[in-house]
């Protein structure tokens, strides 16, 4: 069961990685065509710049081959684990396997062509070959999406989803190429000269991809979501809402970049382009990674239109977020253990109020920690509250709380020994590691915030927040009790969204506020940092008022 859980999780996570890899390949091709203009007669991009773009294209192809290949293997592992046997013929006969295999082989082909292009970047034949391989790579995606299993409008839904994915890939791949060009421009004059031009050229490509995203996304959402209850009362709908919110944040960054590009076109002002825009693009990348993972998660959710009678009402969802007295008393271990056999039974299942109260208490007390940390962190922005910089110590307190409360059956409070529980059960192992890391992160972030020389440590926090946010978003799923699970999921999806915002805000703060303040970046950075802390405070609030439905 442990292996099955792990394989399932990796399989799901691979979906997001595949989309990112795919976006790097497709986006790099479009970047080469429209920004570097490799097919134009007056093709003039410097060889080193083309090689850089091809390098990213090849990296994307390598990542796609690895992730797609792994997906085929992991899916087989899941099948063998769930079924207790491996029906190889039946598996290889599925459209999923065949389309996945085609993508894998095409990725291998692209790796070879990209390697050739690195040696001879101006060879038109190789570029044409890369384009020829990319087209079926995009089309193969049609058999890997929700639409393929539908009974109605199957072909239209498959086509629409492929176009939607393509547009997202152009955007993300282009943003990744922009970042790569900016890094290169710090050492290369050619890249430095191309940087403002690339920003302005990419605006058109970016706007086009957003238009296609909307034109395909709206009918897809209409088909799969159906109505307002479906949008706010199901896991699928809530992920669509989250995706839209994150897209709007990403679009705001894109607008800032576009504005800086226009300023350069009109007045040849490069300050914003050189100093702010790269960091906006980094933050945009955080957001877009979140969007791609949500897109991957959507494919493992039942569409809202199929579970109308299992949807939660808007008021039930609102109830999950309504402020109330936090539960600060917990049931005893004995009460908890007494309810467990009934709670986990398939037949004669009896919901356990003690388990629900136990969980509420854990969430609410964690919320107390986070809310207090958020409040103290806000004070840290006022000079005379220097002591408030030590707010990350709250993570240490939280880790101690988690250590005692995460697994009630195990040491130190339960009857099962430390080593036996840690290495005998995956979930307990996960909790132990998480507890240890909460402690370590608290210590490290405190050092990062109080020690000016701890440069490397500073970036750990936003990176882990982004990662954690993505995990919360991709973890969104429905099990046996769709409605109850969704109500729980709605809070975790909201926290995932806030975590991604928290990550990009802190990242921007570090990049803008802690550098030269002469161009207005300092204030922008501090605002972003405060938004980040506000997001943490809101996460704390969600946990503070959390109430689990009894199921």
């Amino acid at each position: 069961m442990y292996m099955q859980g792990l394989a399932n999780f990796i399989d799901d996570f691979l979906g997001g990685l595949i989309l990112i890899s795919y976006a790097l390949v497709v986006g790099s091709m479009l970047w080469s065509a429209f920004i570097l203009r490799i097919w134009s007669s007056g093709f003039a991009a410097h060889e080193s710049i083309v090689c850089r773009a091809v390098g990213l294209l090849r990296a994307g192809a390598v990542a796609l081959a690895i992730t797609q290949g792994l997906k085929l293997i992991i899916k087989a592992v899941v099948l063998a684990s769930v079924l207790g046997e491996f029906p190889a013929d039946a598996y290889m006969g599925t459209l999923q396997f065949q389309a996945g295999l085609i993508r894998f082989l095409l990725s291998l082909g692209l790796i070879l062509v990209a390697s050739q292009l690195l040696r001879t970047p101006h060879k038109p034949f190789s570029w044409n070959l890369a384009a020829i391989l990319s087209i079926p790579l995009v089309i193969a995606g049609a058999w890997l999406v929700h639409g393929v299993g539908r009974f109605e409008n199957r072909e239209q839904l498959m086509t629409m989803t492929v176009l939607h994915q393509f547009a997202a890939a152009v955007w993300f791949g282009g943003v990744a190429q922009l970042l790569s060009l900016w890094h290169m421009s710090r050492q290369s004059q050619e890249a430095k000269a191309l940087w403002p031009i690339a920003i302005t050229r990419f605006a058109l490509l970016g706007v086009s991809s957003v238009v296609v995203l909307l034109l395909t996304g709206l009918p897809l959402a209409w088909t799969y979501v159906g109505n307002w209850d479906g949008l706010f009362g199901t896991g699928y709908g809530s992920l669509v809402v989250t995706k839209v919110i994150l897209l709007m944040v990403a679009l705001s960054f894109a607008y800032l970049n576009h504005r800086a590009g226009r300023l350069w076109l009109r007045q040849r002002q490069t300050e914003g382009l050189d100093r702010k825009v790269p960091h906006y693009i980094e933050a945009e990348t955080f957001i877009l990674v979140g969007v791609l993972f949500i897109a991957a998660t959507l494919s493992s959710q039942p569409p809202s239109v199929d579970i109308k009678e299992l949807s939660a009402t808007v008021s039930e969802v609102a109830e999950m977020f309504t402020p109330r007295m936090p539960r600060l008393t917990s049931p005893t271990h004995e009460q908890l253990l007494a309810g467990e056999p009934g709670r986990v039974a398939v037949v004669d299942k009896i919901p356990s109020p003690a388990a629900t109260e136990w969980s509420d208490y854990n969430h609410n007390v964690s919320g107390v920690f986070l809310t207090l940390m958020g409040l103290i962190a806000m004070f840290s922005y006022i000079r005379r509250f220097e002591w408030a910089r030590y707010w990350p110590l709250g993570f240490v307190g939280l880790s101690i709380f988690l250590f005692f409360r995460s697994d009630a059956e195990t040491w130190p409070l339960g009857p099962i020994g430390f080593w036996e529980s840690t290495f005998g059960n995956g979930e307990v192992f996960q909790h132990r590691i998480a507890t240890l890391l909460a402690f370590a992160l608290g210590v490290m972030e405190m050092r990062a915030r109080t020690n000016r020389h701890a440069d490397q440590l500073r970036y750990l926090f936003p990176i882990l927040c982004a990662f954690g946010g993505v995990l919360l978003l991709t973890h969104a799923h429905a099990e046996f009790e769709l409605k109850s699970e969704y109500l729980i999921q709605s809070t975790h999806t909201a926290m995932g969204l806030l975590a991604v915002i928290m990550a990009s805000g802190r990242w921007l703060e570090l990049r803008l506020a802690e550098t030269d303040g002469s161009y207005g970046g300092y204030l922008d950075g501090k605002i972003a940092g405060f938004v980040s802390i506000l997001a943490m405070f809101l996460i704390g609030n969600i946990l503070l008022f959390y109430r689990e439905p009894l199921f």
Partner: protein
């Protein structure tokens, strides 16, 4: 070992730590293919009569890669035969004659879009009149 009492806020802990990505993740299940209609709601199973239960899924299902179990009291699993119905998304399940009591059908189905779903349909078999 019993299933541990889960600290259900572990997702919150995940928020903080990437390493959990590589570690255990409990009994994670998808639920993409869902049952949209079941014959059990219209025609409850009669005691001591073999029955064909018909389920309709929202998505095409790969039957050779799917399994259904009858779960009886004490969570004892018995595999049951399944076959494709005539309509789209239809699955026919051969349920043997059952004594009155509480039961469940646990299905593990592989949807055409590549997602596995495990779920449970609980039902009651009444005393014969």
């Amino acid at each position: 070992m019993h299933q541990p009492i889960v600290f259900r806020s572990n997702k919150f802990v995940l928020l903080l730590f990437s390493i959990c990505l590589l570690l255990a993740y409990g009994e994670r299940l998808w639920a993409h293919a869902v049952v949209t209609e079941s014959s059990l709601t219209q025609n409850p199973i009669q005691a001591n009569h073999a029955t064909t239960v018909v389920l309709f899924f929202n998505s095409n299902v790969e039957l050779p890669l799917s399994r259904v179990f009858l779960v009886s009291k004490g969570d004892i699993y018995h595999p049951v035969q399944i076959e494709k119905g005539k309509k789209q998304g239809e699955m026919r399940i051969q349920v043997p004659a059952l004594a009155p009591g509480e039961y469940a059908l646990k299905y593990k189905v592989f949807a055409a879009d590549g997602h596995f779903t495990e779920n449970v349909i609980r039902f009651h078999v009444s005393e014969p009149r």
